[in-house]
């Protein structure tokens, strides 16, 4: 009875935190590995369409992105709300797509060039006209591997 009733302060033993930095560092390295910083600032808005039969895009270094969508709020006054194409950091016309692909391709390693994939990130409300124009430009530029970016349907 008195057994559980020990008087006198017993004080919590201090938790040994000497390995805490190591733990945190491990986490830190993990996130540093998986991080891929976005290189471009998006100037167009898009919601990707949904699908079920999606494949993963592998090897980010082989992938070139083309964004299509409505200009974001801050540019809308200037550019209107028609669908626009974004290449790298600026708006572009369809006619510039071909040169863009050539440029991107020449900046890749020679072995990788035939494996180049173009990922089309297109808003789901876009009219097909503009997409078709891009596709034709890609065909002309011999960038034949493409990927229609989409989200998984739940």
């Amino acid at each position: 009875m008195g057994k559980f009733n020990k008087t006198g302060k017993r004080g919590m033993p201090a938790l040994n935190t000497s390995s805490l930095p190591d733990l945190i560092f491990t986490l830190l390295f993990f996130f540093m590995m998986v991080t891929s910083m976005r290189e471009v600032t998006l100037k167009v808005q898009f919601t990707l369409p949904q699908g079920t039969e999606l494949e993963k895009l592998e090897k980010k270094s082989l992938v070139t992105f083309i964004y299509v969508g409505m200009p974001t709020q801050e540019y809308r006054a200037k550019m209107g709300s028609e669908s626009r194409i974004q290449l790298n950091d600026s708006y572009a016309e369809v006619s510039e797509v071909q040169d863009f692909i050539y440029q991107e391709r020449s900046s890749m390693k020679e072995d990788d060039q035939p494996l180049m994939t173009v990922s089309l990130k297109v808003d789901k409300g876009t009219k097909m006209g503009i997409v078709t124009d891009i596709k034709n430009a890609l065909r002309q530029a011999y960038a034949l591997k493409i990927n229609y970016s989409a989200r998984k349907r739940d």
């Binding site: 945190i24 996130f31 699908g51 895009l57 097909m128 997409v131």
Partner: protein, 195 residues
Amino acid sequence: MANRNRKVPDINSSSTADIAFLLLIFFLLTTSMDTDRGLARLLPPPPEKDQQDQTDKIKERNILQVYLNKDDQLMCGNEYISINQLRQKAKDFIENVNNDPKKPEKVQKNIPFFGPMMVTDKHVISLQNDRGTSYQAYISVQNELVAAYNELRDEISEQKWQKKYADLSEDEQKAVRMIYPQRISEAEPKKYGGK
């Protein structure tokens, strides 16, 4: 000299954790773990100037026409259908179980692992859309067509190896692909009417 065994004072390392935390939080915030997914497609090479229109060389029975108009209505062959029916329709077309004379012709082909098989390897699914079609509708149709192929490939893999197509070895996948080659042609879009 006077004090040889003077101890090097320890660096107070109690704040390393905080520093690491700061870095950790920074990377946590900047990380975007989005795995990009999408429908992979291969575009046909650009048409050459002296190349003649090849479409009329393909027999009519080998083509499944899929039209998508500017109001996102879907037409397959001669009838309007809904997007849910497309997968089955495409599967029936590609497989052609009963050797229907209206469906693609079957050719005997020697396939590794399978031996001689009757294959509909001349079939083409021709997808035609309008410039006004919405992208979501287009992707849905593409998705259904790819799904049709994937289901057929899975079915035959299950039959032969009791495995899904994705779990097969590379050679086996190649053989399955020879039985059901993916042939989706994206024709030049037509513009019906004005904008």
